[in-house]
Subunit: 331 residues, 2 copies
């Protein structure tokens, strides 16, 4: 295992300290927790937004904390759900009296622990609502999930819901827009290589020298199939078929596109994938409203990418364009 | 070789097409060239700024084209200087009559080809000046370089000089601030793994299973030494010693920090390095004005990082803070 770390058992602690050290005017770490919150939390007259999940997906989730996006992100151990007590700390830190919306990626552990935290917070008189993101069209049910997994599309939920809450919308309105994004966002990923959880010290699965896996999850959960590595053209075509099959888009519809690197993919390759995705959409008459290329939801040093499409209307476009000061999503 | 590409001989073309497809309102590709320019080039009453170099360092250099930063970026083949005719096209496209400043990383091929382009442009009546960035303190002279190499510190040059030019400063003023940044910026890198140039299909050098190289260049040029992989603490300490030895900083001085991933390094590890760098600077009483963590100047899928310090004064701080709409450096 080649990693630039200190003790494998303290990577999350070290990472969070290094993260808040980078943006001391914008975010802070709640003492003795793994919760990163906005420096000015709780923000008055605003629904609080909390997300989080296992670590190893950086810049998710702390990178999306900031004005215009999340109020707090809760980090679990690598690829492990955060515990309910940590999520509860986040909820309490960001509630200004307007309630708190939890944005949860659909993994069994995350859903259970966030729900438990919601119950504890409600017992303390905080109005807590939740939305579960399940954008991955690859498979129904997988190693850690009942139903579809939540992957990179979650970042669009953070951005758009963050903008809505920043406008001072009510909990009902904020939750409605969150559900609208979830209903309109679809993703799928593929990997060329596995990744290594620091505390494990070895890859959690293996791919042969010329093998790739389509539909893989961001923790290496099984995908649809393994094949020889093909071309960017063929990979993009296959990923887009799966996504488009599930979206019922028609000519004239507008989408936002995210080409997300899983951690070790050169940005050059992401742009080559974007060329192919752009061609496919253009041929179908689907308009591209905006494109995001980079590392948004990673899997440590996994090589590969995911493609996300979000069908947008005037409301979603306006919220997507709104200002964001989150370190990993500046607008 | 596992890569998401089409033909290895067309990776630069495919990448540039995918890049401009992502930001059609902001940038365009000059027809039949490898030159990315601002959509609105040439910008009136503004010194034009052109940078570039070999491909494989994405988001450098096209990612820094945009309002507040560069006017054009010229892409060579992977790890290969762009040709003088391409640089000339960029110069001609961005000159509004105020002249054009070339920002060149110190590699023999780049310096030669950019200078040749400057001569050709001057023969056409364009005032062309240049600044050569040589921030890498690791070694004097290396595979492709006489003197010190230019690496991630170049991004600070793009940002600050871009802000100065955007203010409408004269060529003399713009060039002076460029030289000021070059005089005050220092970097050094280290790698855990090599990278693979697509057309070559195999690594240009090898590192053993538990070996790292300190002081390595962004094309894999030799560094200072190879050792067993140590801890993030020890790596940061060693990199910072080399940089600080060369900077003569004293307690109370202010710096901007860049922790740059070389392509395959998980962002988690970059933040762990930032924690260590932050501790070292804080112990010495050196103030951190701002911190940038991410992939700014990469080497395809090389795993490793570089650390850059820029000593800042009031002028540089103000220019660093100024608005930028470049896709890879939004402020």
């Amino acid at each position: 295992m080649k990693k630039i770390i200190n003790d494998p058992n303290f990577v999350v602690k070290d990472m969070l300290e290094g993260f808040v050290a980078a943006y001391p005017n914008d975010v802070k770490l709640l003492p003795n927790t793994t919760v990163v919150v906005r420096e000015d939390a709780p923000v008055s007259n605003k629904v609080g937004l909390v997300s989080g999940g296992g670590s190893g997906h950086e810049p998710a989730h702390a990178g999306y904390v900031g004005k215009g996006m999340l109020d707090a992100a809760v980090a679990g151990e690598v690829f492990t759900s955060p515990t309910p007590d940590q999520v509860l700390e986040a909820i309490k830190a960001v509630d200004s009296g307007e309630g708190v919306l939890l944005i949860i990626k659909n993994y069994t552990g995350d859903v259970m622990n966030f729900e438990m935290a919601a119950e504890l917070a409600e017992a303390e008189g905080i109005n807590v609502q939740q939305v579960v993101v399940n954008d991955d069209v690859a498979v129904e049910d997988s190693s850690f999930t009942t139903g579809r997994r939540g992957i990179a599309g979650t970042v669009f939920v953070h951005k758009i819901v963050g903008a809505k809450a920043t406008q001072g919308a009510s909990m009902e309105e904020v939750k409605a827009v969150a559900e609208k994004v979830v209903a309109n966002v679809r993703s799928i990923g593929m990997a060329l290589t596995p990744c290594i959880v620091p505390a494990a010290g070895k890859p959690s699965f293996e791919l042969k020298d010329n093998e790739m896996e389509v539909g893989i999850g961001i923790h290496g959960e099984p995908g649809i199939k393994r094949t020889e590595v093909t071309t960017a053209h063929d990979i993009a075509t296959e990923l887009m078929e799966k996504v488009l099959d599930d979206m019922n888009l028609k000519s004239g519809d507008e989408v936002a596109v995210m080409i997300n690197g899983l951690g070790a993919t050169p940005e050059m390759e992401l742009y080559i994938v974007n060329k192919e995705v752009n061609n496919i959409l253009t041929e179908k008459g689907i308009k591209i409203y905006d494109t995001f290329v980079g590392e948004y939801m990673t899997s440590l040093e996994m090589a590969g990418c995911s493609v996300t499409l979000l069908k947008v209307d005037e409301e979603l476009k306006s919220l997507l364009d709104a200002e964001s000061k989150a370190p990993a999503f500046r607008r």
